[in-house]
């Protein structure tokens, strides 16, 4: 088992797994239509708030998985299954406002609107939540924070006694850190995108791109969602995201990226003063994303249970126990859900047919179909499957 794991790190991993995991990541990804709908929706909120509070110069932008390009389709079996979109609502000129004022200026304006008041949830601890048909948006009111570095923002927190206090966050800094963790691949991806679509680099967002790190995180999150469906202590996305980005070694394809991440993510914890596992916020070392693990050690156990299971389901079993693509499909259905796995295998089949029609496929001496080219590979020429059903 170990030997096969080592092979993967040496870059000899299986061509078919690379193709199937790429198709899996694409099946989990948010469609372009939904992305456009989400962007149009939050831009409309931004315009609405901006027009009413011109002096404050309100700006809305995505944070979290929407901004990182790691958002995935919700579980269809989950009745609350809908996309979770996190947004920063910055009151650019609101530095002198109290946290209560910051929170309520945004809340009051949303309540005043006949459109948005109907979609608004009761006040959250830090956010206002707007419910749309297929997604909900967590709008985080905040202001710049001049005392800290330029990217930091001041957020608001409502306490149990209904008073408010300031908090600090740095979502933009996190996005920049995330890009830096995949710098080589990111630079290449952004260049390809710019050339293909003829757009300026400055206008390209992470959610336009599909890097191996982004896709690996999508697959790991879905594995977690399925494993913890209906259970407590589900490992949080920010922990998976941060450890995955730290472990990522600029692998060029999603399957090698996941294998390396699963092999190494454990080494990217920090050990705290009392021996506790920490996942420090890369933009604010004083914040530990795993702070709840201290009071609730079951969260730590759940994380390691998940990591173990993900290694088994993604790295070990496909290489050791698979007997045919149909058996791989059954196993992946259990780990990632029936519908996305069906979509994945259909997409893989369509890609293989497209590759064959365009003369990009050959067979080696075992009969394995491959995209590689050499004198030992015989091209698969065009033909028409015939005969009865």
């Amino acid at each position: 088992m170990l030997k096969k794991g080592v092979n993967i790190l040496l870059g000899t991993s299986n061509e078919t797994l690379k193709q199937i995991f790429r198709a899996l990541a694409d099946s989990l990804n948010v469609s372009e239509t939904t992305t456009k709908e989400i962007i149009a929706s939050y831009e409309a909120v931004g315009t609405y708030l901006g027009n009413l509070e011109e002096d404050l110069d309100i700006k809305i932008s995505p944070q979290g998985s929407m901004a990182l390009g790691t958002m995935i389709k919700p579980l269809s079996s989950d009745k609350n299954g809908e996309y979770d979109v996190d947004l920063i609502c910055q009151l650019t000129n609101g530095e002198s406002l109290t946290p209560e004022q910051v929170k309520h200026i945004v809340g009051n304006r949303l309540h005043e609107s006949p459109r948005y008041s109907k979609m608004l949830d009761p006040e959250g601890k830090r956010c206002w939540t707007l419910k749309y048909t297929d997604f909900h948006m967590d709008v985080l009111p905040c202001t710049p924070l001049s005392s800290e570095n330029s990217n930091s923002i001041r957020i608001t927190e409502r306490l149990d006694n209904n008073t408010y206090k300031d908090g600090i966050s740095n979502p933009k800094g996190y996005i920049e850190w995330f890009k830096a963790k995949m710098q080589l691949v990111y630079t290449e991806a952004i260049q390809n995108y710019a050339e293909k679509r003829n757009v300026e680099i400055e206008k390209i967002h992470l959610y336009n791109l599909r890097t191996p790190l982004q896709m690996a995180i999508q697959i790991l999150k879905r594995h977690r969602d399925i494993m913890f469906e209906g259970e407590d202590y589900k490992p949080t996305s920010i922990i998976i995201n941060t450890l995955a980005a730290r472990a990522y070694g600029n692998e060029g394809n999603v399957y090698d990226a996941i294998c390396n991440i699963l092999e190494n993510m454990e080494q990217h914890f920090t050990i705290g003063p009392n021996g506790e596992y920490q996942v420090l916020n890369p933009t604010r070392r004083e914040e530990n994303f795993a702070d709840r693990w201290i009071a609730e050690p079951k969260r730590k156990d759940a994380f390691f249970r998940w990591l173990q299971m993900a290694k088994k389901d993604i790295v070990e079993d496909p290489l050791n126990f698979i007997d045919g693509l149909d058996s791989l499909k059954s196993r992946l259905s259990e780990s990632f859900g029936a519908q996305v796995t069906q979509d994945t295998f259909e997409a893989y089949g369509r890609t293989m047919l497209d590759n064959r029609v365009n003369n990009r496929i050959g067979v080696n001496s075992k009969g394995n179909l491959t995209n590689k080219k050499s004198s030992a590979i015989i091209p698969v020429t065009n033909h028409t499957f015939f005969g009865s059903v």
Partner: protein, 146 residues
Amino acid sequence: MKSSSLQKKTLPQQCLALKSQFPNAKVQFNRNKMTIKLLLQPTELSREYLCEFIVERSGRCTVWVSGDMKKLNAVDFPHKYKVDMKNKKVQVCLYHPSKDEWNPTHWLKDSLVPWTCEWLLFYELWLSTGEWLGGGEHPSAESVQV
């Protein structure tokens, strides 16, 4: 196809060419035909299938696939001429007979063998998804000429 490609290939020529690319092939000659048995695995994650290429002296070739075949009795079993339930094998249909996609001037190793691998890939995907994703045509039963 190479310069000699218009010549019909003899059985020994086919055999030698195929063995050069697939050294594990087992070849038998009897009476007027040659049988080539070859284990083929369409992907590294797939099962291995025993594929038999039965070539008559006339050049005509039939291809049978066996091994751990599933759903042999499915009504929508794709792209086949015959299913031999007793021996659990299928005679597969790899090309359009009236489009001149194959004739005995073609090398088996460059045509029927890779097409069989591809058939096996789409067969496993058909078992996985219920869909034949490899394209092709399914004529009405009465117009099929075996």
